[in-house]
């Protein structure tokens, strides 16, 4: 039999001025199950809490109801009070007689009557409460970072510096990501490699960081604090432990015609190669599609010349399984495919290039050694036209509806760099809007216009066509309300960016939600911007939304802070108000798993006794209490009512409904 104590708070005059608190306390004395009822000026005060503790002990209370302010205010306080007196903290219910009663009603009789009903409702509920124990799950003190671009590198370094082990899984042969391909970075124009490569080296040298390059995540099991991840280490045909990065193999390899993807396919590379000079790890990889030995069985020249004996044509994909407490997703982006935009002639003219290709053409380590030469004939372009918003802000279905965010700034950067290096070059930029919200960003853009004389044209390009070897760029000049055609030597398209496609697979593995544009969804757009709704999964960089390097780095560090906060704990306290299936009633119909946003529900075949010595094997739902967030979506979906929610059980809510409606 439940022994309930009721405590009515005056909250000074906040409640007492409109609710006759003494009357409420008095009425409750005769409620069935209530063995103690009192009122006090401030229940949340030291003395008020003392009163509660004493009553719990003296009257052997099994549950208490506090009629006070909103549970959002002091539920936690009173739970602690109860716990201190030896009562399970979940045997506490709050009747909100301040925000929902005294503050909004003026008539004392009316407000008192309502307060009585609200307290009764809380009593009805607390009678059905059951002691709940916050579960505990251990935390594996190691983090996984998926993606080795600047986001992943920064997150890994920050986590490792706090003393936790970190693995970086990178699908390419080297870490560095998109930033490694860039020439200069806005708004300060530092050389990208000069600021990135030291960080890459730090990663390689950090004793807490393990770089798993040329690897992909294959399978993820478990939950926050306890992920178990299977990682595929793709065969690179070179023994990572032996290769010294001497590059002799690259020199000797007879198959040199492979497109160099690091240089955006603008030049070629050998079948065995190190992606770029500062690659980490500085280890070669063989492209099996291109290698003569792997394709025909004949050749083997690299093996002959490798002094370290690192070449291994027999290598196969291998798998490793590791445990992690937290996972950071930093899978990055790629420029969109421009096939749908034939008006810009990208596929038909070699001299129509994307901005990322221009980065490589201007980079000292690029295909032209940093001299800006146009791809078609290797001449210096004299007139260069930039087109912004190619595929961004496009709701027609060809492109992306969002703003890619980085293009305005990098276009200004390109225009400026070209005008500085080649002052005789004419540079035009077609823009719809120039968006430069960021520290020193607008100043940067204005410098391109004012100091470097870049010609910004408000308007969009309608078509680019080739006439006698010249690229004719026809577009609007909206300010002058005219249509202009610019005879150009090089056209640069600011192609929209989109999440790296592999993010879809990663999201599925992690049960992390993804939006219609394939960006990973954050837990709360404003207040939890680096957390995925899936507990223990964090988001850094463009996989969550377009952003530039400074923003990416900040987000990565924010992720690291969250991860460190998680890994610093030895055990995770789990919310005990989670879903719980009654196996004897579960049909195993999968409807609950279909609505679970967290992937907390799995199924297993269990044996049940039928009586008479017979047994039956049935598929039943299992809820992982560490993953369940307690929303209750599953409880309503369950046709048999086998699924219930602790702390908000069907019976509890029904009893509240009854208490309110009973006239």
């Amino acid at each position: 039999m439940q022994r309930i104590g009721v405590f009515i708070c005056w909250c000074g005059s906040n409640i007492a001025a409109t609710v006759d608190v003494q009357k409420v306390a008095e009425v409750m004395k005769s409620e069935p199950g209530v063995v103690y009822s009192a009122d006090y000026q401030y229940m949340c005060s030291e003395n008020g809490q003392q009163l509660i503790k004493q009553a719990i002990k003296e009257h052997n209370l099994t549950g208490i109801v506090v009629g006070s302010c909103s549970p959002r205010m002091h539920e936690a306080t009173f739970r602690k009070t109860a716990e201190a007196a030896g009562l399970n903290p979940y045997m506490v219910e709050i009747a909100n007689i301040r925000e929902h009663c005294s503050w909004i009603h003026k008539d004392m009789d009316e407000a008192t009557e309502k307060a009585i009903i609200l307290v009764r409702t809380a009593i009805a509920k607390v009678k059905l409460n059951a002691p709940l124990m916050a579960g505990e799950s251990p935390v594996v003190k190691r983090a996984l970072v998926i993606g080795g671009g600047i986001a992943g590198i920064q997150a890994a370094l920050d986590i490792a510096d706090a003393g936790f082990e970190v693995d970086i899984v990178e699908k390419n042969a080297t870490i560095g990501g998109r930033m490694a391909q860039l020439d200069k970075t806005f708004p300060t124009l530092d050389c990208s490699a000069c600021i990135l490569t030291p960080k890459m080296v730090d990663c390689a040298q950090h004793e807490k960081i393990d770089i798993l390059s040329y690897s992909e995540v294959e399978e993820v099991k478990g939950f926050v604090g306890n992920f178990s991840v299977k990682i595929r280490r793709k065969a690179r045909y070179v023994d990572e432990t032996k290769c010294t990065g001497c590059k002799i193999c690259m020199e000797k390899c007879p198959s040199k015609k492979g497109l160099n993807s690091f240089n955006m396919d603008l030049n070629t590379r050998p079948a065995i190669h190190i992606p770029f000079a500062q690659a980490i790890p500085n280890v070669a990889v063989i492209d099996p599609e291109q290698c003569i030995k792997l394709k025909t069985g004949k050749c083997g020249i690299c093996q002959k010349f490798c002094g370290a004996g690192a070449i291994d044509y027999e290598q196969k994909d291998t798998f490793i399984e590791r445990e992690y407490g937290a996972i950071v997703v930093a899978t990055g982006y790629k420029p969109i495919n421009l096939d749908a935009f034939n008006e810009y002639g990208y596929n038909d003219n070699k001299d129509v290039i994307t901005s990322l290709e221009l980065e490589r053409l201007m980079n000292a380590a690029g295909p032209t050694n940093g001299v800006l030469l146009r791809p078609s004939d290797g001449e210096h372009p004299k007139v260069i036209t930039f087109i912004q918003c190619v595929g961004s802000r496009d709701s027609s279905g060809c492109g992306k509806p969002y703003c890619s965010k980085i293009c305005c700034m990098y276009t200004a950067k390109h225009a400026m760099l070209i005008r500085e290096k080649y002052p005789d070059t004419e540079v035009h930029v077609f823009y719809i809007d120039v968006r430069t919200p960021g520290k020193n960003y607008d100043e940067f853009y204005r410098r391109a216009v004012e100091q470097y004389g870049v010609d910004y044209i408000k308007g969009m390009v309608g078509k680019v066509y080739n006439e006698n070897g010249k690229l004719m760029v026809q577009g609007s000049n909206l300010i002058d309300n005219e249509q202009i055609t610019i005879e150009s030597d090089l056209v640069v398209l600011a192609a929209a960016i989109e999440p790296e496609p592999s993010v879809r697979k990663v999201a599925t593995l992690l049960t992390a939600s993804i939006d219609t544009n394939n960006f990973l969804t954050e837990s709360h757009a404003k207040l939890r911007p680096v957390e995925s709704p899936t507990a223990g999964v964090y988001l850094a960089g463009v996989c969550q939304g377009p952003k530039d390097i400074p923003e990416t780095v900040s987000q990565a560090s924010a992720c690291a802070a969250k991860v460190i906060g998680l890994l610093a704990k030895d055990k995770l306290k789990t919310n005990p108000c989670v879903a719980i299936p009654d196996e004897s009633m579960c049909n195993g119909c999968s409807q609950c798993a279909n609505v679970c946003a967290y992937g907390a529900i799995t199924y297993e075949n269990k044996e049940f006794r039928l009586g008479g010595g017979k047994t039956e094997i049935r598929r039943v739902a299992c809820v992982n209490p560490a993953v369940c967030q307690g929303c209750g979506a599953c409880t309503v979906t369950c046709p048999s009512g086998a699924m219930d929610l602790k702390g908000f059980s069907s019976k509890q809510i029904m009893s509240e409904v009854e208490a309110i409606c009973k006239k």
């Binding site: 009654d582 004897s584 609505v595 046709p639 048999s640 086998a642 019976k651 009854e658």
Partner: protein, 325 residues
């Protein structure tokens, strides 16, 4: 119809004799010509009682929940409408698909004995069908009835086709039909609230809570029904307020929403002739209209309309005020 029955019997015999299946689920003769009942046949001898005729309206899918757990394969004869329930149950992991061999059988609509009786014909001994004429013989002689008037309610608007089959026994082509299964629902929708309430009050007042609708429904196949679950707060035994009694049909209809294949068994078995299918069809019609056409049981996997969503779904208030979409 006799030829179809022959073929089915023959095939059942083959399957049992060859040991390909351990049992066959079909219909067996009843005491009268109009009350065949679902049955399991495990030996060739038992097949003597096998029957398939115009009174085999029962949906066999639900029986497979238990039977498909047994050892050995089970062959089952499924009419078009039954296959939807079958798929839905496979989707909900209730039927072990690997253990079942589905033989799709033709259906030329089934008869409602009650409707025949209403025509004043009793003590029926047999029926013979020629086009739309049904010659009914009884102890008192012969009467010819018009076929569309004596069909089971579920057959009146049926346009279903087999959704699953391992083989088929289809000897006759079914005539194409163009009927609106929502016609009755629309009629009710067009009424005023008062009229609708009067209609349902009259209908539901007839309910004797015999649970036949629940027991026959392939979607109502819970290991333990919510009405028998004391934790649900609706079970009558745990509650003195008779909540369950009073709102049984609302809860039942909601529970099968998005899963009901419109097989019509609920109305067929109701001893009080409550048009229960009109409750389910309202949900089906709303789902089709608000979230796109959906036929439960068309697929054996995937989500139902109530376990999926789109960001632009209609607002409940707009739906109520007829402003959705």
């Amino acid at each position: 119809m006799k030829d179809v029955e022959m073929k089915m019997k023959e095939r059942a015999k083959q399957l049992l004799e060859s040991g390909e299946v351990a049992r066959v689920v079909g219909w067996k003769k009843g005491d009268f010509c109009y009350d065949p009942s679902p049955a399991t046949f495990e030996t060739v001898e038992e097949l003597d009682n096998f029957v398939y005729d115009y009174f085999c309206g029962a949906n066999l899918s639900k029986y497979l929940i238990q039977i498909s757990k047994k050892e050995g394969k089970t062959a089952v004869f499924l009419k078009p409408c039954d296959t939807y329930s079958f798929n839905q149950l496979v989707k909900e992991h209730r039927i072990n698909r690997e253990n079942v061999y589905v033989i799709a059988v033709e259906c030329m609509a089934k008869f409602d004995i009650e409707k025949i009786k209403e025509k004043g014909v009793s003590q029926i001994t047999g029926v013979e069908v020629k086009d739309k004429d049904v010659k009914v013989s009884s102890l008192y002689g012969e009467t010819t009835l018009y076929k569309p008037e004596i069909l089971l309610t579920k057959c009146e608007t049926c346009q279903k086709t087999h959704q699953v089959k391992d083989e088929e026994i289809i000897l006759h082509e079914r005539p194409e039909r163009d009927v609106d299964r929502f016609a009755e629902v629309k009629k009710l929708e067009a009424m005023t609230e008062d009229e609708r309430f009067a209609f349902w009050k009259e209908q539901l007042s007839k309910c004797i809570r015999c649970n036949a609708c629940r027991n026959v429904c392939p979607a109502c196949s819970c290991v333990k029904c919510v009405f028998d679950n004391p934790a649900s707060g609706v079970a009558a035994k745990a509650n003195d307020s008779e909540f369950e009694e009073k709102l049984f049909h609302v809860i039942r209809a909601f529970h099968v929403a998005g899963r009901c294949t419109d097989c019509g068994e609920c109305s067929r078995v109701c001893p009080q002739h409550i048009p229960l299918h009109l409750l389910n069809r309202k949900f089906i019609k709303d789902i089709d209209g608000l979230y796109g056409e959906f036929q439960a049981g068309e697929e054996a996997e995937g989500k139902t309309p109530l376990t999926s969503y789109t960001e632009g779904d209609a607002e409940p208030n707009d739906v109520l005020n007829g402003e959705a979409k």
